[in-house]
Symmetry: D2
Subunit: 139 residues, 4 copies
């Protein structure tokens, strides 16, 4: 499939419609049904013990799948998250950015399913796995 929006275009669109997370995420790459997104780790993401919080990883997976849907469908895609599942497998490295490798397993007319592996930047083993389901309401 062809990509409908490129990195700069998606980043500008997100800043416009979703100013609450401006600066929280950096889109590193967009390809056919796949994106890579970086989350520069900030104090507000931390939990006791110095590890990144589950909600911060949820946010990273959620925005990554949303970005992947935008990339394939374009800005008219009014996708809303309808479900998700998570496995938190390792403690993220303290003070290191998180990288989300996201792949769309399905991008249908009404449902999209994205699969994410989240890494501490530079590490080989993922810290978390996530899958997110998005629903695309009829126009």
């Amino acid at each position: 499939m062809n990509v409908a929006m490129q990195v700069d275009e998606i980043a500008a669109y997100l800043d416009e419609v979703f100013p609450q997370v401006r600066g929280d995420f950096v889109i590193e790459a967009v390809a056919d049904r796949a994106v890579r997104v970086r989350m520069p780790v900030a104090e507000r993401h931390l939990r006791p013990g110095g590890t990144v919080s589950g909600p911060a990883m949820f946010a990273l997976a959620d925005v990554s799948v949303y970005i992947a849907v935008l990339a394939m469908k374009g800005r008219e895609a009014l996708a809303v998250t309808t479900g998700g599942s998570f496995d938190f497998m390792r403690k993220p490295v303290a003070g290191v950015d998180l990288i989300c490798e996201c792949r769309l397993l399905k991008i249908g007319r009404v449902l999209a399913v994205g699969d994410c592996l989240i890494y501490s930047d530079g590490m080989e083993e993922p810290v978390a796995r996530a899958s997110m389901t998005y629903s695309m309401p009829p126009k």
Copy 2:
């Protein structure tokens, strides 16, 4: 089962070990394997369209199960989230607090499973369902 920590004690403990979320959550009730937690809705929780974000609801479910584990096990409980699943079913009412009704389905020696229904305050139908798994590492 008897409750090991009461509301005020848990609230003070959370403020101490988890200052990043101070003020984000209000523990309303603690009972045998059940807690109710309020999330006063703030601008930073919002998404395009005025709805509360998925990550904010994840945070609410996550902290609610953690509070329920603390309530039953006491402060020595070093629980970490190992997994979770979510269904987002309705759009939260804009500008209204969220209420999480959480029940521990299992509180074992090494694993705890909590089930959460999240409501817009005053509404009858839940906006989201969540289940979270916590692991209690050996001391």
Copy 3:
């Protein structure tokens, strides 16, 4: 909401469209957005150690949510399972039927979400929790 199909009607319909599972499940009760289904435990459901298998519990949860959707929407409901999540919390009692208490948290035009607790008959604590998502394709 009013129930669209009663127990006998649903049972006859399942036998007709889904003969592979004839005799596997007994519908015990149908109410507004809630059903109770019994699975008489058979040799083919067992796993090493005498416990009921995960797939058998999946089947029970899946059919229970399907029955709940039929009960509310009637036989024209062409629902297909689009997702599910499970927690297996206790070992089922050997040689004892399983009971699934299922509640529809959402029964919309295109999506239904059902929540299930599965018990060994007569036990107070659930052996498993399941949530299933069904999609209702447009007619």
Copy 4:
């Protein structure tokens, strides 16, 4: 990591401890933290419309992760399924075997997490995604 058991050894062990599913699954390949398992499709796996049932796909994912754990840990591994999540994305091709590509994302001392993509044999797009969590009780 080194593989602790090879295909023939695992197949013989499964037949011994889990005779209920003898013949249901064919282990095609075992490698470091990865297995491929075939499910020859049989009448009992079908649902209305000729598609393979969700429970059959659950069984395939569940046994695949179990095989992967055996492959890495050896036969002393007393793993039990503690949770799982599923996305059913496409209708399997009628009358065609299912293939499960399974990868262990974590194989720790007490928890294992496996990720599965299930395909109709010969198709490029997966019909389902599954992740399963296994707990390894202390000896």
